[in-house]
């Protein structure tokens, strides 16, 4: 018995219950050996007996339940460095136990703990602290050591040094039988720093990588038609230009190509953001990533991989992301300048006390460690995240998912806002213009009900029964038995009329253009007026025709608009605005907005937008209400005030405590306490931020 297995992406599964429903239903099929879904990743792995089931029958079974299923190549897990969670767990258990010993020593010192009991506690603490500091602290020691070998220093260097110095000093003190050891401070430091790292990595994984997601769309299986008439299934990446491929309905095109079959409808929403399916005639170009709605069709491959339209979009997104990384490099530069100061301060403390003032080696080392700990820019490092994490939580409660603290800070600074039209400023659904007479609309709808064409679908609202015996001319229009026609300008005999894309001709030959209206999204006008108070007026950027964009802009009250914008055009406009020194926001929902979204200083998308727009956006609105953007901007301005206060406080803290530590007035324990206290003050200040109104 031979088995086959495949992993499917289930893009339109909304809840865990749906995944379980598919699982149970598949498991009930003969020959299916395993169906295991992951509701978090919206994926399902299915293993079946090839003698009983086939790939098509398994897919058909999922489609039959009403869910899309796309085959995906399972990518190898990305190496994200050493595992943080086990190290965090070890540090947590270590900290709890060492704290218990420290507490009893602190209280015991005031009462009746004998020196032998105290030393027993110290030795136990040391036995726990040393392995924990080496294992859990390896997250800091490793990079610090690697950087040191290449003659660099990173933010990890002083942390690693402070951990090791405090650990060694505490060990020396334990051996000497002294009263003070600092194992609790070391392990607590590691524990809290690791929590920060874990949160950081989670955030990074969630935001994802726009380019990788775009390429993922091409990561499908293709069915190649061989010259001898047989079919070969292969990965899309193995296709070459000139291959003939067969694409079934519901499948994604594996490469750009020319349509060899007759008329077909394709869903290009992932590429254009346009939710209306496009009708493509024989010979038309089709783009990889688009979904064929009424296949199977034969396609001659013209561009593969990076050369395809979507591959080029991915490259653009990549370049933009690389550009955005500059902010990170700037903070590294800052660290490079600051760390020698920290280390210099520490060694200065040691040298000064050991040589100039003749203090003992242990005392001098304690002063140096105190300097290293108080100069740790923890409060300064927390100043911003303490406020932004609070603000992100408040925003989340209001249905605004902010994916990075940086985006939240920038939000209050926006000078110029660009917004996409279809699906963003306007609702994705079209409705027939209100100016059409009820009679014409009724008659046109009766014809439309008999057609599957996308425009007919937009017209038909189910209110009128379909005309029987209607004759449809593919790609042209539909004719009723009485001679009434609904279709293109040429089909109704008015080839020069461009006032609409759909026309109705009644049985007497009177032609009426059927125009469609777009409706503004909820909160658009409030959003426009709130932007006016803080930034330049909003600009509408759309890939739609100039007339459609103008019509919508005028009805919505937007003064600036640009139609016929390709993704590259949108990017250039944004870059030009940024070159003038503006901080730019982009609001969009389609794949064609992806590049602009990645390039903008802050980008906003909706939960109902394409997956890729969501991954490239910094902010995702769970409810498509543009007022939320104004609320987020107001929240950001309040947050920035608190961040400013925090930065002032943390600077003051370091300016005041470093001289105290150098003067030998702070023990390492007191330094650790001050450091924690300053962090707590900064965190508490963040909590003063109030919710979204």
């Amino acid at each position: 018995m031979s088995t086959a297995s495949e992993t499917f992406a289930l893009p339109d599964v909304r809840c865990a219950g749906c995944v379980l429903k598919i699982e149970r239903s598949l498991a009930g099929l003969p020959g299916v050996e395993l169906a295991r879904g992951n509701a978090t990743q919206k994926r399902m792995r299915v293993v079946w007996d090839e003698a009983v089931q086939s790939l098509d029958s398994v897919r058909a079974a999922i489609l039959g339940l009403g869910y899309q299923a796309e085959q995906i190549a399972v990518e190898a897990p990305v190496d994200t460095g050493p595992a943080l969670l086990p190290r965090l767990g070890v540090a947590a258990v270590g900290m709890m136990n060492i704290m218990a010993f420290s507490m009893s020593v602190w209280f015991g010192a005031a009462t009746d703990m004998g020196p032998s009991t105290m030393q027993y506690m110290h030795w136990l603490s040391a036995a726990i602290a040393v392995p924990v500091a080496l294992y859990s602290g390896s997250i800091f020691h490793g990079p610090a050591l690697r950087a040191l070998r290449q003659g660099h220093m990173t933010m990890d260097t002083p942390i690693s040094l402070a951990i090791l110095a405090t650990l060694i000093a505490s060990l020396v003190e334990t051996v000497r039988g002294a009263e003070h050891v600092y194992f609790d401070a070391v392990i607590a430091l590691i524990f809290f720093l690791l929590i920060g790292r874990v949160l950081e990595r989670l955030m990074h994984e969630k935001s994802g990588d726009a380019a990788a997601n775009l390429r993922g769309l091409m990561d499908v299986r293709a069915t190649r038609l061989e010259h001898d008439g047989t079919q070969t299934v292969l990965a899309a990446s193995e296709l070459i230009v000139g291959d003939m491929v067969l694409v079934k309905s519901g499948e994604r095109l594996p490469a750009d190509g020319t349509l060899l079959s007759d008329l077909v409808h394709v869903d290009e929403s992932v590429l254009t953001g346009e939710t209306k399916p496009r009708a493509a005639a024989k010979g038309a170009g089709l783009a990889a990533g688009a979904i064929v709605l009424d296949g199977p069709v034969e396609v001659r491959v013209t561009h593969v991989g990076e050369a395809s339209e979507i591959g080029q979009l991915a490259q653009m997104a990549e370049e933009v992301t690389a550009h955005k990384g500059r902010l990170q490099r700037m903070s590294d530069h800052f660290a490079r300048g600051y760390i020698p100061l920290v280390l210099g301060g520490g060694s200065l403390g040691f040298l000064m006390w050991f040589f100039a003032f003749g203090a003992s080696f242990a005392d001098s080392l304690m002063i140096a460690v105190a300097v290293l700990i108080v100069t740790c820019p923890c409060a300064a490092g927390l100043a911003t995240p303490a406020v932004t994490s609070r603000a992100m939580n408040l925003a989340l409660k209001a249905g605004i998912v902010v994916k990075s603290g940086a985006a939240l800070e920038q939000l209050g600074d926006i000078d110029q806002v660009f917004i996409d039209k279809t699906g963003t400023a306007s609702l994705p659904q079209l409705t027939p213009a209100a100016s059409l007479s009820v009679e014409v609309l009724g008659a046109a709808r009766a014809l439309a009900a008999a057609s599957a064409h996308p425009l007919a679908r937009a017209l038909d609202d189910g209110s009128v029964a379909a005309v029987s015996n209607a004759k449809e001319v593919a790609g042209q229009g539909i004719e009723g038995p009485d001679g009434a026609r609904l279709g293109s300008a040429a089909f109704v005999g008015k080839p020069k009329d461009t006032s609409a894309s759909l026309f109705y001709r009644d049985e007497n030959g009177v032609v009426t253009p059927i125009t469609f209206e777009e409706h503004a999204r909820a909160g658009l006008s409030e959003f426009l007026s709130s932007v006016k108070d803080v930034a330049r007026p909003v600009t509408l950027l759309s890939g739609d025709s100039a007339t459609a964009v103008e019509r919508f802009a005028k009805s919505a009250g937007i003064a600036d608009w640009l139609g016929r914008q390709t993704p590259a055009d949108k990017l250039n406009i944004l870059k030009a605005a940024q070159a003038e020194g503006n901080s730019v926001m982009m609001i969009g929902d389609g794949i064609n907005d992806t590049v602009a979204l990645s390039a903008a200083d802050v980008s906003v998308s909706f939960a109902e937008a394409t997956q890729i727009a969501q991954t490239s956006a910094d902010i995702v609105l769970t409810q498509p209400d543009l007022r939320r953007v104004s609320q987020a901007m107001a929240l950001s301005r309040r947050a920035r005030r608190l961040i400013h206060q925090n930065l002032t406080f943390s600077t003051l803290y370091n300016v005041l405590t470093v001289p105290l530590a150098l003067a030998g007035l702070l023990s390492p324990a007191l330094a650790a306490l001050l450091m924690s206290a300053s962090s707590i003050v900064v965190m508490a200040n963040g909590y003063r931020l109030r919710g979204v109104k």
């Binding site: 379980l20 149970r24 992951n38 990743q41 969670l85 767990g89 009991t117």
Partner: protein, 56 residues
């Protein structure tokens, strides 16, 4: 005071058990699908009871 000589190692061992349990949940990938697993326990059908024949 002699009691703590024994009690502390015992409490450390208990903490170690908790740590090992946590590491085990990590290793067996129990955090891979938090959403699905939380629903699975409610929605999935019970596995049929396998009743072993009583030896006579």
């Amino acid at each position: 005071m002699n009691a703590i000589i024994f009690l502390i190692p015992i409490s450390l061992m208990l903490a170690g058990v908790a740590l090992i349990a946590f590491l085990w949940t990590l290793r067996t990938r129990q955090y891979g699908d938090p959403e699905g697993d939380s629903h699975r326990i409610l929605l999935a059908e019970d596995a049929p009871l396998t009743i072993k024949p009583v030896p006579r």
